[in-house]
Symmetry: C2
Protein backbone atom coordinates (compact mmCIF):
# COMPACT_ATOMS: atom_id res chain seq x y z
CA UNK A 1 0.00 0.00 0.00
CA UNK A 2 1.39 3.33 -1.13
CA UNK A 3 0.11 6.33 0.77
CA UNK A 4 0.34 9.92 -0.46
CA UNK A 5 -2.06 11.96 1.64
CA UNK A 6 -2.05 11.77 5.43
CA UNK A 7 -4.43 13.53 7.81
CA UNK A 8 -3.17 14.41 11.29
CA UNK A 9 -5.38 15.27 14.23
CA UNK A 10 -4.11 17.31 15.93
CA UNK A 11 -0.94 19.32 15.30
CA UNK A 12 0.42 19.65 18.85
CA UNK A 13 4.13 19.17 19.65
CA UNK A 14 4.05 15.54 18.57
CA UNK A 15 1.52 15.77 15.74
CA UNK A 16 3.25 18.69 14.05
CA UNK A 17 6.71 17.05 14.33
CA UNK A 18 5.34 13.94 12.62
CA UNK A 19 3.61 16.18 10.07
CA UNK A 20 6.86 17.98 9.31
CA UNK A 21 8.78 14.72 8.88
CA UNK A 22 6.15 13.49 6.44
CA UNK A 23 5.74 16.72 4.47
CA UNK A 24 9.53 17.18 4.27
CA UNK A 25 9.74 13.89 2.38
CA UNK A 26 6.92 14.66 -0.02
CA UNK A 27 3.75 13.43 1.68
CA UNK A 28 0.72 15.69 1.41
CA UNK A 29 -0.15 16.29 5.05
CA UNK A 30 -3.52 17.73 5.94
CA UNK A 31 -5.18 18.73 9.18
CA UNK A 32 -8.38 20.42 10.25
CA UNK A 33 -7.92 23.46 12.48
CA UNK A 34 -11.62 24.30 12.81
CA UNK A 35 -11.98 26.39 15.99
CA UNK A 36 -8.24 26.29 16.87
CA UNK A 37 -6.12 29.32 17.88
CA UNK A 38 -3.58 31.37 15.94
CA UNK A 39 -0.56 29.52 17.42
CA UNK A 40 -1.87 26.17 16.22
CA UNK A 41 -2.44 27.60 12.75
CA UNK A 42 1.12 28.92 12.72
CA UNK A 43 2.62 25.62 13.92
CA UNK A 44 0.65 23.66 11.30
CA UNK A 45 1.88 26.02 8.59
CA UNK A 46 5.50 25.79 9.79
CA UNK A 47 5.20 22.00 9.61
CA UNK A 48 4.06 22.11 6.01
CA UNK A 49 0.56 20.92 6.86
CA UNK A 50 -2.39 22.00 4.79
CA UNK A 51 -5.53 23.09 6.62
CA UNK A 52 -8.80 21.74 5.25
CA UNK A 53 -12.19 23.24 6.05
CA UNK A 54 -13.88 20.37 7.86
CA UNK A 55 -13.37 16.91 9.29
CA UNK A 56 -15.55 15.60 6.46
CA UNK A 57 -13.10 17.04 3.96
CA UNK A 58 -10.12 15.61 5.84
CA UNK A 59 -11.74 12.17 5.98
CA UNK A 60 -12.54 12.32 2.29
CA UNK A 61 -9.09 13.43 1.16
CA UNK A 62 -6.81 11.44 3.51
CA UNK A 63 -5.79 7.86 2.75
CA UNK A 64 -4.59 7.49 6.33
CA UNK A 65 -5.58 9.46 9.42
CA UNK A 66 -3.27 9.66 12.43
CA UNK A 67 -4.82 10.37 15.81
CA UNK A 68 -2.24 12.13 18.01
CA UNK A 69 -3.88 13.62 21.08
CA UNK A 70 -4.03 13.59 24.85
CA UNK A 71 -5.36 10.19 25.98
CA UNK A 72 -8.76 11.47 27.12
CA UNK A 73 -9.61 12.84 23.65
CA UNK A 74 -8.82 9.68 21.69
CA UNK A 75 -12.26 7.98 21.87
CA UNK A 76 -14.13 11.20 20.93
CA UNK A 77 -11.99 11.78 17.82
CA UNK A 78 -12.52 8.18 16.74
CA UNK A 79 -16.30 8.61 17.00
CA UNK A 80 -16.14 11.92 15.11
CA UNK A 81 -14.14 10.31 12.30
CA UNK A 82 -16.37 7.20 12.20
CA UNK A 83 -19.43 9.44 11.82
CA UNK A 84 -17.74 11.41 9.08
CA UNK A 85 -16.70 8.24 7.24
CA UNK A 86 -20.30 7.04 7.23
CA UNK A 87 -21.58 10.43 6.10
CA UNK A 88 -19.06 10.86 3.31
CA UNK A 89 -18.77 7.25 2.16
CA UNK A 90 -14.97 7.52 2.23
CA UNK A 91 -12.60 4.85 3.51
CA UNK A 92 -9.32 6.06 4.97
CA UNK A 93 -7.26 3.85 7.26
CA UNK A 94 -7.12 5.13 10.84
CA UNK A 95 -4.14 4.82 13.18
CA UNK A 96 -4.58 5.69 16.84
CA UNK A 97 -1.11 6.66 18.08
CA UNK A 98 -2.19 7.72 21.56
CA UNK A 99 -0.99 6.52 24.96
CA UNK A 100 -4.10 4.59 25.87
CA UNK A 101 -4.85 1.20 27.41
CA UNK A 102 -5.42 -1.89 25.25
CA UNK A 103 -9.01 -1.92 26.56
CA UNK A 104 -9.57 1.64 25.31
CA UNK A 105 -8.01 0.77 21.94
CA UNK A 106 -10.22 -2.31 21.66
CA UNK A 107 -13.30 -0.12 22.05
CA UNK A 108 -12.05 2.35 19.44
CA UNK A 109 -11.27 -0.57 17.13
CA UNK A 110 -14.89 -1.74 17.41
CA UNK A 111 -16.20 1.74 16.56
CA UNK A 112 -13.93 2.01 13.51
CA UNK A 113 -14.58 -1.52 12.27
CA UNK A 114 -18.31 -0.89 12.44
CA UNK A 115 -17.79 2.13 10.18
CA UNK A 116 -15.79 -0.05 7.78
CA UNK A 117 -12.45 1.59 8.57
CA UNK A 118 -9.13 -0.31 8.68
CA UNK A 119 -7.95 0.33 12.22
CA UNK A 120 -4.31 0.38 13.29
CA UNK A 121 -3.20 0.30 16.93
CA UNK A 122 -0.11 2.49 17.15
CA UNK A 123 2.05 4.22 19.75
CA UNK A 124 4.97 6.60 19.78
CA UNK A 125 7.97 5.99 22.04
CA UNK A 126 10.42 8.85 22.34
CA UNK A 127 10.34 12.59 21.80
CA UNK A 128 8.70 14.24 18.76
CA UNK A 129 10.70 13.04 15.73
CA UNK A 130 13.27 15.43 14.26
CA UNK A 131 16.33 14.74 12.11
CA UNK A 132 18.95 12.94 14.17
CA UNK A 133 16.55 12.00 16.95
CA UNK A 134 15.44 8.46 17.66
CA UNK A 135 11.68 7.99 17.92
CA UNK A 136 9.88 4.73 17.33
CA UNK A 137 6.34 4.17 16.17
CA UNK A 138 5.07 0.69 17.03
CA UNK A 139 1.93 -0.71 15.46
CA UNK A 140 -0.24 -3.80 15.56
CA UNK A 141 -3.42 -4.94 13.87
CA UNK A 142 -4.64 -7.18 11.04
CA UNK A 143 -3.48 -4.69 8.37
CA UNK A 144 -0.86 -2.12 9.40
CA UNK A 145 0.50 -1.57 5.88
CA UNK A 146 -0.85 2.00 5.55
CA UNK A 147 1.05 3.15 8.62
CA UNK A 148 4.13 1.11 7.73
CA UNK A 149 4.31 2.82 4.34
CA UNK A 150 5.16 6.08 6.16
CA UNK A 151 8.60 4.59 6.93
CA UNK A 152 9.61 6.04 3.56
CA UNK A 153 9.81 9.41 5.32
CA UNK A 154 12.46 8.10 7.70
CA UNK A 155 10.03 7.41 10.56
CA UNK A 156 11.06 4.27 12.44
CA UNK A 157 7.93 2.12 12.26
CA UNK A 158 7.83 -1.38 13.75
CA UNK A 159 5.03 -3.91 13.65
CA UNK A 160 4.16 -6.05 16.67
CA UNK A 161 1.88 -8.41 14.77
CA UNK A 162 -1.80 -8.74 13.94
CA UNK A 163 -3.35 -8.18 17.36
CA UNK A 164 -4.93 -4.81 18.19
CA UNK A 165 -3.85 -3.92 21.74
CA UNK A 166 -0.23 -5.04 21.49
CA UNK A 167 1.20 -1.68 20.42
CA UNK A 168 -0.78 0.21 23.05
CA UNK A 169 0.15 -2.39 25.67
CA UNK A 170 3.85 -1.87 24.94
CA UNK A 171 3.46 1.87 25.39
CA UNK A 172 1.72 1.34 28.72
CA UNK A 173 4.39 -0.90 30.28
CA UNK A 174 7.18 1.23 28.85
CA UNK A 175 5.67 4.48 30.14
CA UNK A 176 5.23 2.89 33.57
CA UNK A 177 9.02 2.50 33.63
CA UNK A 178 9.66 6.12 32.72
CA UNK A 179 6.77 8.38 33.77
CA UNK A 180 5.50 6.03 36.49
CA UNK A 181 8.90 5.84 38.13
CA UNK A 182 9.47 9.59 37.70
CA UNK A 183 6.24 10.19 39.62
CA UNK A 184 7.53 8.10 42.52
CA UNK A 185 10.89 9.89 42.54
CA UNK A 186 9.09 13.22 42.52
CA UNK A 187 6.89 12.20 45.41
CA UNK A 188 9.72 10.95 47.60
CA UNK A 189 11.90 13.99 46.90
CA UNK A 190 9.03 16.35 47.69
CA UNK A 191 8.28 14.25 50.78
CA UNK A 192 11.91 14.46 51.92
CA UNK A 193 11.95 18.21 51.48
CA UNK A 194 8.61 18.62 53.26
CA UNK A 195 9.98 16.61 56.20
CA UNK A 196 13.22 18.62 56.28
CA UNK A 197 15.16 15.50 55.31
CA UNK A 198 16.40 16.26 51.83
CA UNK A 199 20.05 16.74 52.83
CA UNK A 200 20.07 13.60 54.97
CA UNK A 201 18.51 11.63 52.11
CA UNK A 202 21.07 12.87 49.59
CA UNK A 203 23.88 11.99 52.00
CA UNK A 204 22.42 8.50 52.48
CA UNK A 205 22.11 8.01 48.70
CA UNK A 206 25.81 8.80 48.45
CA UNK A 207 26.69 6.36 51.25
CA UNK A 208 24.61 3.55 49.80
CA UNK A 209 25.82 4.15 46.25
CA UNK A 210 22.49 5.22 44.78
CA UNK A 211 23.13 7.53 41.84
CA UNK A 212 20.21 9.90 41.37
CA UNK A 213 21.89 12.32 38.97
CA UNK A 214 19.71 11.15 36.10
CA UNK A 215 16.61 11.80 38.22
CA UNK A 216 17.72 15.24 39.39
CA UNK A 217 19.12 16.46 36.08
CA UNK A 218 17.07 14.53 33.56
CA UNK A 219 13.70 13.35 34.82
CA UNK A 220 12.41 16.11 37.09
CA UNK A 221 13.11 19.36 35.17
CA UNK A 222 11.32 18.33 31.96
CA UNK A 223 8.37 16.77 33.77
CA UNK A 224 6.18 19.75 34.84
CA UNK A 225 5.39 21.04 31.34
CA UNK A 226 4.18 17.53 30.40
CA UNK A 227 2.48 16.70 33.71
CA UNK A 228 -1.07 17.64 32.68
CA UNK A 229 -0.92 15.30 29.70
CA UNK A 230 0.53 12.53 31.83
CA UNK A 231 -2.41 12.43 34.25
CA UNK A 232 -4.59 10.67 31.69
CA UNK A 233 -1.70 8.49 30.55
CA UNK A 234 -1.11 7.22 34.09
CA UNK A 235 -4.82 6.44 34.39
CA UNK A 236 -4.65 4.44 31.15
CA UNK A 237 -1.68 2.45 32.48
CA UNK A 238 -3.63 1.81 35.70
CA UNK A 239 -6.45 0.44 33.56
CA UNK A 240 -3.98 -1.74 31.63
CA UNK A 241 -2.59 -3.28 34.81
CA UNK A 242 -6.06 -3.77 36.25
CA UNK A 243 -7.02 -5.55 33.04
CA UNK A 244 -4.45 -8.30 33.68
CA UNK A 245 -5.27 -8.57 37.38
CA UNK A 246 -2.59 -6.25 38.79
CA UNK A 247 -3.19 -3.37 41.19
CA UNK A 248 -4.12 -0.05 39.55
CA UNK A 249 -3.19 1.95 42.65
CA UNK A 250 0.46 2.72 41.96
CA UNK A 251 -0.40 4.31 38.65
CA UNK A 252 -3.48 6.09 40.02
CA UNK A 253 -1.09 7.56 42.57
CA UNK A 254 1.23 8.60 39.75
CA UNK A 255 -1.78 10.36 38.17
CA UNK A 256 -2.36 12.11 41.52
CA UNK A 257 1.25 13.35 41.49
CA UNK A 258 0.97 14.75 37.98
CA UNK A 259 -2.40 16.31 38.84
CA UNK A 260 -0.67 18.08 41.73
CA UNK A 261 2.11 19.31 39.44
CA UNK A 262 -0.49 20.31 36.85
CA UNK A 263 -2.17 22.59 39.38
CA UNK A 264 1.00 24.70 39.75
CA UNK A 265 2.27 27.40 37.44
CA UNK A 266 5.21 25.11 36.57
CA UNK A 267 2.86 23.28 34.21
CA UNK A 268 2.15 26.44 32.21
CA UNK A 269 5.64 26.39 30.69
CA UNK A 270 6.12 25.23 27.11
CA UNK A 271 8.94 23.28 25.52
CA UNK A 272 10.13 26.56 23.95
CA UNK A 273 11.10 27.96 27.39
CA UNK A 274 14.02 26.64 29.46
CA UNK A 275 13.03 23.93 31.95
CA UNK A 276 13.05 24.83 35.65
CA UNK A 277 15.75 23.37 37.91
CA UNK A 278 14.90 20.38 40.11
CA UNK A 279 15.37 22.66 43.10
CA UNK A 280 12.72 25.03 41.76
CA UNK A 281 10.32 22.17 40.99
CA UNK A 282 10.66 20.75 44.51
CA UNK A 283 10.33 24.21 46.03
CA UNK A 284 7.07 24.97 44.22
CA UNK A 285 5.60 21.53 44.91
CA UNK A 286 6.56 21.53 48.60
CA UNK A 287 5.09 24.99 49.02
CA UNK A 288 1.81 23.97 47.45
CA UNK A 289 1.45 21.19 50.04
CA UNK A 290 1.09 23.93 52.63
CA UNK A 291 3.89 22.40 54.67
CA UNK A 292 5.99 24.75 56.78
CA UNK A 293 9.57 23.55 57.00
CA UNK B 1 26.13 7.37 78.79
CA UNK B 2 27.86 3.99 78.91
CA UNK B 3 25.65 0.99 78.16
CA UNK B 4 26.52 -2.61 79.01
CA UNK B 5 23.31 -4.59 78.77
CA UNK B 6 21.06 -4.37 75.70
CA UNK B 7 17.72 -6.09 75.21
CA UNK B 8 16.64 -6.98 71.67
CA UNK B 9 13.10 -7.81 70.65
CA UNK B 10 13.09 -9.83 68.53
CA UNK B 11 15.98 -11.89 67.13
CA UNK B 12 14.93 -12.21 63.47
CA UNK B 13 17.43 -11.78 60.59
CA UNK B 14 18.08 -8.15 61.50
CA UNK B 15 17.74 -8.36 65.28
CA UNK B 16 20.09 -11.32 65.62
CA UNK B 17 22.72 -9.73 63.34
CA UNK B 18 22.69 -6.60 65.53
CA UNK B 19 22.78 -8.82 68.61
CA UNK B 20 25.81 -10.67 67.28
CA UNK B 21 27.66 -7.44 66.48
CA UNK B 22 27.03 -6.21 70.01
CA UNK B 23 27.83 -9.44 71.85
CA UNK B 24 30.99 -9.95 69.74
CA UNK B 25 32.31 -6.69 71.13
CA UNK B 26 31.46 -7.42 74.74
CA UNK B 27 27.93 -6.15 75.27
CA UNK B 28 25.63 -8.37 77.29
CA UNK B 29 22.76 -8.94 74.88
CA UNK B 30 19.51 -10.34 76.17
CA UNK B 31 16.23 -11.30 74.58
CA UNK B 32 13.00 -12.95 75.62
CA UNK B 33 12.00 -15.98 73.57
CA UNK B 34 8.81 -16.77 75.47
CA UNK B 35 6.62 -18.80 73.13
CA UNK B 36 9.09 -18.76 70.22
CA UNK B 37 10.14 -21.77 68.12
CA UNK B 38 13.32 -23.86 68.15
CA UNK B 39 14.88 -22.05 65.17
CA UNK B 40 14.58 -18.68 66.91
CA UNK B 41 16.17 -20.16 70.06
CA UNK B 42 19.05 -21.50 67.95
CA UNK B 43 19.54 -18.21 66.09
CA UNK B 44 19.57 -16.26 69.38
CA UNK B 45 22.14 -18.66 70.83
CA UNK B 46 24.33 -18.46 67.70
CA UNK B 47 24.24 -14.68 68.02
CA UNK B 48 25.47 -14.79 71.61
CA UNK B 49 22.19 -13.57 73.01
CA UNK B 50 21.05 -14.63 76.44
CA UNK B 51 17.44 -15.66 76.84
CA UNK B 52 15.64 -14.28 79.88
CA UNK B 53 12.43 -15.74 81.27
CA UNK B 54 10.02 -12.83 80.83
CA UNK B 55 9.60 -9.38 79.36
CA UNK B 56 9.57 -8.05 82.92
CA UNK B 57 13.03 -9.53 83.49
CA UNK B 58 14.30 -8.12 80.18
CA UNK B 59 12.94 -4.67 81.03
CA UNK B 60 14.52 -4.83 84.49
CA UNK B 61 17.95 -5.98 83.33
CA UNK B 62 18.40 -4.01 80.09
CA UNK B 63 19.70 -0.45 80.07
CA UNK B 64 18.55 -0.06 76.48
CA UNK B 65 15.88 -2.01 74.61
CA UNK B 66 15.96 -2.22 70.81
CA UNK B 67 12.67 -2.89 69.02
CA UNK B 68 13.42 -4.66 65.72
CA UNK B 69 10.25 -6.12 64.24
CA UNK B 70 7.88 -6.06 61.32
CA UNK B 71 6.18 -2.64 61.18
CA UNK B 72 2.76 -3.85 62.29
CA UNK B 73 4.12 -5.24 65.59
CA UNK B 74 5.97 -2.10 66.70
CA UNK B 75 3.13 -0.36 68.61
CA UNK B 76 2.14 -3.55 70.48
CA UNK B 77 5.70 -4.19 71.70
CA UNK B 78 5.97 -0.59 72.88
CA UNK B 79 2.76 -0.99 74.90
CA UNK B 80 3.98 -4.28 76.33
CA UNK B 81 7.28 -2.73 77.42
CA UNK B 82 5.59 0.41 78.81
CA UNK B 83 3.34 -1.79 80.94
CA UNK B 84 6.30 -3.81 82.14
CA UNK B 85 8.28 -0.66 82.98
CA UNK B 86 5.41 0.58 85.15
CA UNK B 87 5.00 -2.80 86.79
CA UNK B 88 8.70 -3.28 87.55
CA UNK B 89 9.64 0.33 88.28
CA UNK B 90 12.65 -0.01 85.97
CA UNK B 91 13.82 2.63 83.52
CA UNK B 92 15.56 1.41 80.40
CA UNK B 93 15.90 3.61 77.32
CA UNK B 94 13.87 2.36 74.37
CA UNK B 95 14.86 2.65 70.71
CA UNK B 96 12.32 1.79 68.05
CA UNK B 97 14.36 0.79 64.98
CA UNK B 98 11.41 -0.22 62.83
CA UNK B 99 10.37 0.97 59.39
CA UNK B 100 7.35 2.96 60.51
CA UNK B 101 5.87 6.37 59.71
CA UNK B 102 6.74 9.46 61.79
CA UNK B 103 3.07 9.55 62.86
CA UNK B 104 3.33 5.99 64.21
CA UNK B 105 6.59 6.80 65.98
CA UNK B 106 5.04 9.91 67.51
CA UNK B 107 2.28 7.76 69.04
CA UNK B 108 4.82 5.26 70.40
CA UNK B 109 6.86 8.16 71.79
CA UNK B 110 3.80 9.37 73.70
CA UNK B 111 3.21 5.90 75.18
CA UNK B 112 6.85 5.59 76.28
CA UNK B 113 7.10 9.13 77.65
CA UNK B 114 4.00 8.52 79.74
CA UNK B 115 5.73 5.49 81.25
CA UNK B 116 8.81 7.63 81.98
CA UNK B 117 10.98 5.96 79.35
CA UNK B 118 13.60 7.82 77.29
CA UNK B 119 12.44 7.19 73.75
CA UNK B 120 14.73 7.10 70.71
CA UNK B 121 13.45 7.19 67.14
CA UNK B 122 15.77 4.95 65.13
CA UNK B 123 15.95 3.21 61.76
CA UNK B 124 18.23 0.80 59.98
CA UNK B 125 19.31 1.38 56.39
CA UNK B 126 21.06 -1.51 54.70
CA UNK B 127 21.24 -5.26 55.17
CA UNK B 128 21.71 -6.90 58.58
CA UNK B 129 25.14 -5.75 59.85
CA UNK B 130 28.06 -8.18 59.47
CA UNK B 131 31.79 -7.53 59.37
CA UNK B 132 32.69 -5.74 56.13
CA UNK B 133 29.12 -4.79 55.35
CA UNK B 134 27.85 -1.22 55.42
CA UNK B 135 24.71 -0.70 57.49
CA UNK B 136 23.67 2.56 59.04
CA UNK B 137 21.51 3.19 62.07
CA UNK B 138 20.04 6.68 62.13
CA UNK B 139 18.46 8.10 65.26
CA UNK B 140 16.71 11.23 66.45
CA UNK B 141 15.17 12.41 69.70
CA UNK B 142 15.92 14.63 72.70
CA UNK B 143 18.41 12.11 74.14
CA UNK B 144 19.85 9.52 71.79
CA UNK B 145 23.04 8.92 73.79
CA UNK B 146 22.11 5.38 74.88
CA UNK B 147 21.78 4.22 71.28
CA UNK B 148 24.81 6.19 70.15
CA UNK B 149 26.95 4.47 72.76
CA UNK B 150 26.51 1.21 70.80
CA UNK B 151 28.82 2.66 68.14
CA UNK B 152 31.63 1.19 70.23
CA UNK B 153 30.70 -2.19 68.71
CA UNK B 154 31.41 -0.89 65.22
CA UNK B 155 27.79 -0.16 64.37
CA UNK B 156 27.53 2.99 62.24
CA UNK B 157 25.15 5.19 64.26
CA UNK B 158 24.23 8.70 63.11
CA UNK B 159 22.08 11.28 64.84
CA UNK B 160 19.61 13.43 62.92
CA UNK B 161 18.94 15.82 65.79
CA UNK B 162 16.49 16.17 68.67
CA UNK B 163 13.20 15.66 66.84
CA UNK B 164 11.40 12.32 67.13
CA UNK B 165 10.11 11.44 63.63
CA UNK B 166 13.20 12.51 61.69
CA UNK B 167 14.93 9.13 61.71
CA UNK B 168 11.74 7.28 60.78
CA UNK B 169 10.98 9.90 58.12
CA UNK B 170 14.37 9.30 56.51
CA UNK B 171 13.75 5.56 56.39
CA UNK B 172 10.39 6.16 54.76
CA UNK B 173 11.62 8.35 51.90
CA UNK B 174 14.68 6.16 51.41
CA UNK B 175 12.65 2.94 51.30
CA UNK B 176 10.28 4.58 48.78
CA UNK B 177 13.29 4.91 46.47
CA UNK B 178 14.28 1.27 46.84
CA UNK B 179 11.31 -0.94 47.73
CA UNK B 180 8.71 1.45 46.29
CA UNK B 181 10.46 1.58 42.96
CA UNK B 182 11.12 -2.18 42.98
CA UNK B 183 7.36 -2.71 43.36
CA UNK B 184 6.71 -0.63 40.25
CA UNK B 185 9.37 -2.47 38.25
CA UNK B 186 7.88 -5.78 39.35
CA UNK B 187 4.41 -4.69 38.33
CA UNK B 188 5.41 -3.49 34.89
CA UNK B 189 7.52 -6.56 34.16
CA UNK B 190 4.71 -8.88 35.24
CA UNK B 191 2.30 -6.73 33.21
CA UNK B 192 4.54 -6.99 30.13
CA UNK B 193 4.77 -10.77 30.48
CA UNK B 194 1.02 -11.10 31.04
CA UNK B 195 0.40 -9.09 27.85
CA UNK B 196 2.91 -11.17 25.87
CA UNK B 197 5.09 -8.08 25.46
CA UNK B 198 8.18 -8.88 27.53
CA UNK B 199 10.49 -9.40 24.54
CA UNK B 200 9.28 -6.25 22.80
CA UNK B 201 9.75 -4.28 26.02
CA UNK B 202 13.31 -5.55 26.52
CA UNK B 203 14.12 -4.71 22.90
CA UNK B 204 12.71 -1.20 23.38
CA UNK B 205 14.74 -0.72 26.59
CA UNK B 206 17.84 -1.57 24.57
CA UNK B 207 16.91 0.86 21.80
CA UNK B 208 16.15 3.70 24.19
CA UNK B 209 19.23 3.09 26.32
CA UNK B 210 17.40 2.05 29.50
CA UNK B 211 19.64 -0.29 31.49
CA UNK B 212 17.55 -2.61 33.62
CA UNK B 213 20.29 -5.07 34.56
CA UNK B 214 20.25 -3.88 38.16
CA UNK B 215 16.50 -4.48 38.32
CA UNK B 216 16.64 -7.93 36.73
CA UNK B 217 19.72 -9.19 38.55
CA UNK B 218 19.61 -7.26 41.80
CA UNK B 219 16.17 -6.02 42.80
CA UNK B 220 13.74 -8.74 41.74
CA UNK B 221 15.40 -12.02 42.88
CA UNK B 222 15.88 -10.98 46.53
CA UNK B 223 12.46 -9.37 46.83
CA UNK B 224 10.02 -12.30 47.27
CA UNK B 225 11.45 -13.60 50.56
CA UNK B 226 11.09 -10.09 52.01
CA UNK B 227 7.77 -9.20 50.36
CA UNK B 228 5.52 -10.08 53.32
CA UNK B 229 7.46 -7.76 55.61
CA UNK B 230 7.40 -5.02 53.03
CA UNK B 231 3.59 -4.86 52.82
CA UNK B 232 3.40 -3.06 56.16
CA UNK B 233 6.43 -0.93 55.36
CA UNK B 234 4.81 0.33 52.15
CA UNK B 235 1.66 1.19 54.11
CA UNK B 236 3.76 3.16 56.61
CA UNK B 237 5.38 5.11 53.76
CA UNK B 238 1.91 5.80 52.34
CA UNK B 239 0.94 7.21 55.73
CA UNK B 240 4.10 9.34 55.80
CA UNK B 241 3.35 10.87 52.42
CA UNK B 242 -0.29 11.42 53.31
CA UNK B 243 0.87 13.20 56.44
CA UNK B 244 2.59 15.91 54.41
CA UNK B 245 -0.26 16.22 51.91
CA UNK B 246 1.02 13.86 49.21
CA UNK B 247 -0.94 11.01 47.65
CA UNK B 248 -0.77 7.68 49.52
CA UNK B 249 -1.91 5.69 46.50
CA UNK B 250 1.43 4.87 44.89
CA UNK B 251 2.68 3.25 48.06
CA UNK B 252 -0.61 1.53 48.80
CA UNK B 253 -0.24 0.05 45.33
CA UNK B 254 3.29 -1.05 46.23
CA UNK B 255 1.79 -2.78 49.29
CA UNK B 256 -0.70 -4.48 46.95
CA UNK B 257 2.18 -5.77 44.84
CA UNK B 258 4.04 -7.21 47.83
CA UNK B 259 0.79 -8.69 49.15
CA UNK B 260 0.44 -10.49 45.80
CA UNK B 261 4.02 -11.78 46.00
CA UNK B 262 3.45 -12.75 49.63
CA UNK B 263 0.56 -14.99 48.62
CA UNK B 264 2.85 -17.13 46.45
CA UNK B 265 5.21 -19.86 47.55
CA UNK B 266 8.12 -17.63 46.49
CA UNK B 267 7.67 -15.78 49.78
CA UNK B 268 8.24 -18.96 51.81
CA UNK B 269 11.96 -18.95 50.95
CA UNK B 270 14.49 -17.82 53.54
CA UNK B 271 17.73 -15.92 53.14
CA UNK B 272 19.58 -19.23 53.68
CA UNK B 273 18.29 -20.60 50.36
CA UNK B 274 19.42 -19.33 46.95
CA UNK B 275 17.19 -16.59 45.54
CA UNK B 276 14.98 -17.46 42.54
CA UNK B 277 15.83 -16.04 39.13
CA UNK B 278 13.88 -13.02 37.86
CA UNK B 279 12.45 -15.28 35.18
CA UNK B 280 11.07 -17.63 37.85
CA UNK B 281 9.64 -14.74 39.88
CA UNK B 282 7.85 -13.29 36.85
CA UNK B 283 6.63 -16.74 35.84
CA UNK B 284 5.07 -17.47 39.24
CA UNK B 285 3.53 -14.01 39.54
CA UNK B 286 2.11 -14.00 36.01
CA UNK B 287 0.63 -17.45 36.57
CA UNK B 288 -1.06 -16.38 39.79
CA UNK B 289 -2.85 -13.59 37.90
CA UNK B 290 -4.67 -16.34 36.05
CA UNK B 291 -3.66 -14.82 32.75
CA UNK B 292 -3.22 -17.15 29.80
CA UNK B 293 -0.43 -15.91 27.58
Amino acid sequence: MKIKRVGIMSPGDMGSAIGKTLSDSGFDVITCLEGRGALTHLRAKESGMRNVQSVDQLVTEAELILSVLVPAEAPALAKLVAGSVRRTGSHPAYADLNAIAPQTVTKINAVMNKAGVTFIDGVIIGSPPRPGRSTRIYCSGPDTSALESLAESGLDIRSLGPKVGQASGLKMVYAASTKGITALWTELLVGARALGLEKALMAEFKLSGVNIDEVLKGRIPSMPRRARRWVGEMEEIAKTFEGVGLTPRMLLGAADMYRLVGETKLADQTSREPDPTTDKVLQVLTKCLGVVK
